[in-house]
């Protein structure tokens, strides 16, 4: 007879068998048996957050920068509800998370017991799947299945709710592998056929105005996918643009790269998307920040869509060739097939796309990311550019909060490798970047990790600085401080007659003193000429830093598409603001 283990022991046994090294969490009554067991498992390190949302975002940052699932451990009731934002964030951005939550003992479920909530009910719409464990003998199967669901197919969060009595009870442990057999949940079993590949290649060859439009699916597919993507782009000689989540899959400073697309994307990327005759979507999902009004989205193009999630295809935009596949698998076989018959395609096809590249060159001349710099006041774009220049020669990981600073970071920081850029895109969670940076630093010790932040966002999860100090994580919180919720203020300026309703933060803390009280380093830069020195100082400190970068309060994030406008009608800068019609206002 096999040795019986307690539920808590089974949890750790399963985590060990899944090669989990770190768990992010916060203890509480209903998970105490699991916390009690922690001391017996030296290979697993627990990172104590200051709030369960922080633990969740840290687990996300860990997952996104390491390619491994993030593990989260929280108590029942408020512990679980606090984790909901992070779970939803992970769900929207396809980040593998396994959340283990404590629950009141089985016999008290449904009685409104202390710290009871319907955790599986609350998290059902924000997880790929969740389980309430009612029998300790189901626990090991469920835990291994949880890891499998989180990491296969389109990755995402899962939750296992374990009542306290189950954590004490003894049961059997077994390591289950590949319990998920059904086609569409697990790894896609769809075999890519040669006829699909030939159709793909045929569309490539017929096109004279092509564009690659790539997204987070390339990153999620692993570093191989980025390698193949670079190969395919170079084999075809086609231009490429990326979504917010896809940045880093293709080098940001490559001449074939047109920059990010979408609401705050570059003029050349958006115009190319609008005017192209072939759009090759690899691992992106035609999000509404990308498409604007769908009826007028890229009207003249044939569209190819590669996605691992069949429900992403045809959801927002109809396509001509749909391939359900993991990006790496598809690109690998596509490149092989393409090379067989199309030697020297780049050169022979140059003529065909030369006009297209000429046109792209004209769009590029608009220099849509330009801004009017100042020598008196730090422009936020300038701050990001300086940060980039001073950190580009080392392997740097960037996280962000949500708002103007996030878009400036996406526009002006050029990424050359995947998994270096962690930002909340789908859910748009203010307060994401600081805890995410903690997870990134855990997964990448010795590397430079910078959270490009806004002062409003960062205050939402500021308590996690304490975590960074406790674990000696030298993360750098680079705050573009304009004292406003900048993106809210921008929209109020453009759409609501400058009625800045509640978007100004009075009584902000002194971030330098705040840093000191947390036991980290505070640095403030007020003028452009001291900026470089201060940034260097920040980089060179081997401790957590809060950097208060005092920037222009009135700067707006351009270019932008007032959504509902097609992609070829962008606003490039403040001088064009007057042109927004009433009709346009509705649509931004």
């Amino acid at each position: 007879m096999p040795k019986l283990l307690s539920g808590a022991e089974i949890v750790f046994k399963a985590l060990e068998d899944q090669n989990v090294e770190y768990i992010f969490g916060y203890p509480g009554g209903a998970v105490l048996p699991i916390y009690d067991e922690l001391k017996n498992h030296k290979s697993i390190k627990h990172i104590l957050a200051r709030h369960e949302q922080g633990a969740g975002h840290s687990a996300e940052g860990y997952a996104r920068s390491s390619g491994k699932p993030g593990v989260l451990l929280v108590t029942s009731g408020p512990g679980a509800t606090n984790a909901v934002t992070a779970l939803t964030d992970a769900y929207m951005d396809s980040i593998p998370l396994v959340c283990i939550s404590g629950q009141v003992p089985t016999h008290l479920i449904g009685t409104d017991a202390f710290q009871e909530c319907d955790t599986t009910g609350i998290t059902r719409p924000c997880t790929k799947h969740n389980w309430l464990v009612k029998d300790v003998n189901d626990l090991s199967r469920i835990l291994h299945l949880a890891f499998e669901v989180a990491t296969t197919g389109r990755p995402g969060p899962v939750l296992v709710d374990i009542p306290k009595d189950i954590q004490f009870k003894k049961g059997k442990y077994k390591f289950f592998k590949h319990t998920l057999k059904k086609k569409l949940n697990g790894k896609v079993t769809h075999k890519i056929s040669n006829s699909e590949l030939d159709k793909f290649i045929d569309l490539i060859k017929k096109s004279s105005k092509p564009i690659f439009y790539t997204g987070g699916g390339v990153i999620n597919s692993g570093p191989e996918a980025s390698k193949y993507l670079r190969e395919l782009v170079s084999l075809t000689g086609f231009p490429i643009t990326s979504t917010l989540q896809g940045l880093g899959a293709y080098p940001g400073d490559d001449p074939q790269f047109l920059g990010m697309l979408g609401m705050h994307g570059t003029y050349e990327a958006n115009n190319a998307m609008h005017d192209c005759d072939l759009m090759i979507n690899i691992g992106a999902r035609f999000d509404d920040r990308i498409t604007g009004k769908v009826d007028e989205f890229s009207p003249g193009s044939k569209k190819i869509h590669v996605d691992i999630d069949p429900s992403s295809i045809g959801k927002n935009i109809k396509v001509d060739l749909a391939i359900v596949s993991d990006v790496t698998t598809l690109l690998k076989s596509l490149i092989k097939r393409f090379k067989e018959k199309n030697k020297n395609f780049v050169n022979s096809n140059k003529q065909k796309t030369s006009k297209w590249w000429e046109q792209i060159g004209k769009w590029r001349e608009k220099k849509s990311l330009n801004f009017i710099n100042s020598d008196k006041i730090i422009k936020p774009q300038h701050a990001v550019q300086r940060l980039y220049e001073l950190t580009k020669n080392q392997d740097t990981f960037i996280t962000t909060e949500v708002g103007q600073h996030q878009m400036w970071a996406a526009q002006h920081y050029k990424f050359n490798k995947p998994n270096r850029w962690m930002t909340s895109g789908g859910l748009g969670t203010m307060g994401y970047g600081l805890p995410a940076a903690i997870g990134v630093q855990i997964a990448n010790p010795g590397k430079l990790v910078v959270d490009i932040a806004g002062e409003a966002s960062v205050l939402m999860t500021m308590q996690e600085m304490s975590t960074a100090v406790q674990y000696r994580l030298p993360i750098k919180i680079f705050i573009l401080n304009n004292e406003y919720m900048g993106m809210v203020r921008q929209w109020q300026e453009l759409l609501h007659e400058k009625n800045y309703s509640e978007s100004y933060t009075a009584a902000l803390p002194d971030f330098v003193k705040l840093a000191e009280s947390y036991g980290c380093v505070g640095i403030r830069a007020k003028t452009p000429n001291e900026l470089d020195e201060k940034i260097k100082e920040m980089i060179n400190v081997d401790r957590p830093v809060i950097f208060d970068c005092v920037v222009d309060k009135a700067e707006n994030c351009f270019p932008m598409i007032p959504s509902g406008k097609p992609h070829n009608q962008m606003i490039l800068g403040p001088e064009e603001e007057e042109e927004i019609s009433d009709e346009g206002k509705v649509l931004v």
């Binding site: 009910g121 799947h129 009433d582 509705v586 649509l587």
Partner: protein
């Protein structure tokens, strides 16, 4: 255009809606119906009727029949989203009016009235497989099986004959001939 100010694009043209019957085979486990119902409500899909019961006692498989309405794009999404759920084994989808599919709904009617009236009731129900489940001098409970629209009409006709209570199921479906859903 009204002066509403939104951060999102305005809706495009809506396609024509169709009525579909979707059959889903699921593991009969706790919360599975909530997952299905939650998917529909969370994504703004419609459920017109729903019928659920375990059909395989050994494997604990339940068969859920859902009647829904939506544009072809929405119907496609419903299918694909359902297939992504972990406890879902397979999904079959039919357009209302397809020839090879049988649909039935069951209804119970309670009618107050003397025997003369009860005879009238039976006559009206005649073509819908009526079964008298309970009968007293002053009341009758009658069971019929028919299509949704037929039951709608029947209920209307029975109103003047003393119908005081109606209980109905959702539709269940099956293929004709030797074929099964796959």
């Amino acid at each position: 255009m009204t002066k509403s100010k939104s951060a999102y694009s305005v809706p495009g043209k809506l396609g024509k809606t169709e009525r579909h019957i979707i059959v889903v085979w699921v593991d009969n486990e706790a919360g599975v119906l909530a997952r299905i119902a939650g998917l529909f409500s969370g994504r703004g899909y419609n459920i017109e009727s729903l019928a659920v019961a375990e059909v395989d006692k050994k494997k604990h498989i339940s068969r859920i029949t859902i009647v829904t309405e939506g544009t072809p794009q929405v119907i496609e999404q419903i299918n694909l989203q359902l297939k992504k759920l972990v406890p879902v084994h397979k999904v079959a989808d039919f357009k209302r009016g397809e020839k090879d599919i049988l649909f039935r709904e069951l209804a119970l009617f309670k009618i107050l009235g003397n025997s003369k009236r009860q005879e009238k009731v039976k006559k009206i129900c005649k073509q819908f497989n009526p079964v008298v489940l309970d009968k007293t001098n002053k009341s009758v409970v009658i069971q019929v099986t028919a299509l949704r629209a037929e039951i709608d009409k029947l209920a209307l006709d029975l109103k003047s004959l003393g119908l005081i209570s109606t209980s109905r199921t959702g539709a269940v479906a099956m293929t004709k001939g030797q074929k099964t859903f796959n």
